[in-house]
Symmetry: C2
DNA sequence: AAACAACTTCGACTTAGGTCGAGGTCAAGC
DNA sequence: GCTTGACCTCGACCTAAGTCGAAGTTGTTT
């Protein structure tokens, strides 16, 4: 009993979270997680790092970059791991982001639909090539996501 | 009159297509476009390269990688620039891809919705963290797109 | 024929999100 | 007290889709 370990090794965290240990060190380097060290310089993690990792991975799946995640975590008052309240606030702002992305894709699809069969593919006349709105800015080759958390109050 | 130039220089193609000349050389290196050369080793493009470029950029916007585009172009009988018929066939297959992506995002959003307020964020119990279906495979850090053109008959 | 813009190649660099390996240290079991 | 596995750092490497700069050549115009 009382076998609930206070601190976890990097290997344990990797196994429990499903995040490779290489990525854990990488995240630490990026300031997304922190660890304490043993006398022998090995990392030891408090259990709540698991929650933080869950947060990170979910945010990534929503489409946020690690930098965005970093910034989101930084908006937490004490730089703490998100609590239920924080989670609600942040995930609500992700929804906006997701909705926007879904919408952009849908518009693209509809344009494609209206183009099928026209065979135009003209650089000048086809509507598919002439929207400087939506994702034209992040254009080909750089499908980055807008911050979108900025206004996430 | 008769000023319709047979062949275009790289600068002209860049200007007309909106694709930077650096990218044009890059695409050629990748086998997406080809060019002839003058006696002095400069590239000259037939006008239909513009259509091919339109195809490439549109495909990219749909979410295909250059490799996917390369493969798609290779499915064309004579390795030609897509005609109206090819365009219909390929863009129809892109629709499937787009629909799938839209759907995946929608499912993610819905899960997020059902999670807002629960605050669980548990690695084991929250439904957000337990879908090995859909996009779990391309996981965080590698938001690549599935080929999806393979079956595009 | 000389100027000058446009073109050539090649290698290095970029961002994001990591992975891999070498060489060395730490911790736990027997 | 020794073996073995887990851990450490650091730098190199990876993919994708290009960009940038240097040094040299071509093509066009006057």
């Amino acid at each position: 009993m009382s076998k609930l370990p206070e601190m976890l090794t990097i290997g344990q965290v990797a196994e429990r979270s499903g995040v490779p240990h290489t990525a854990l060190r990488f995240y630490e380097e990026r300031g997304l997680i922190t660890s304490e060290r043993t006398a022998g310089n090995q990392r030891r993690y408090p259990r709540h790092v698991l929650r933080r990792l869950a947060f990170i991975r979910t945010a990534q799946r929503v489409g946020l970059s690690l930098e965005d995640v970093h910034d989101a975590l930084a908006t937490l008052p004490d730089n703490r791991t998100p609590t239920k309240t924080d989670w609600s606030r942040l995930s609500a702002s992700w929804q906006v982001e997701l909705d926007a992305r879904i919408d952009a894709l849908r518009r693209l699809r509809d344009r494609l639909t209206s183009c099928i069969g026209c065979g135009c593919l003209s650089l000048r006349s086809c509507s598919l090539h002439n929207f400087d709105d939506e994702q034209a800015a992040d254009g080909p080759g750089a499908p980055k996501l807008k911050p979108a958390l900025e206004g996430g109050t």
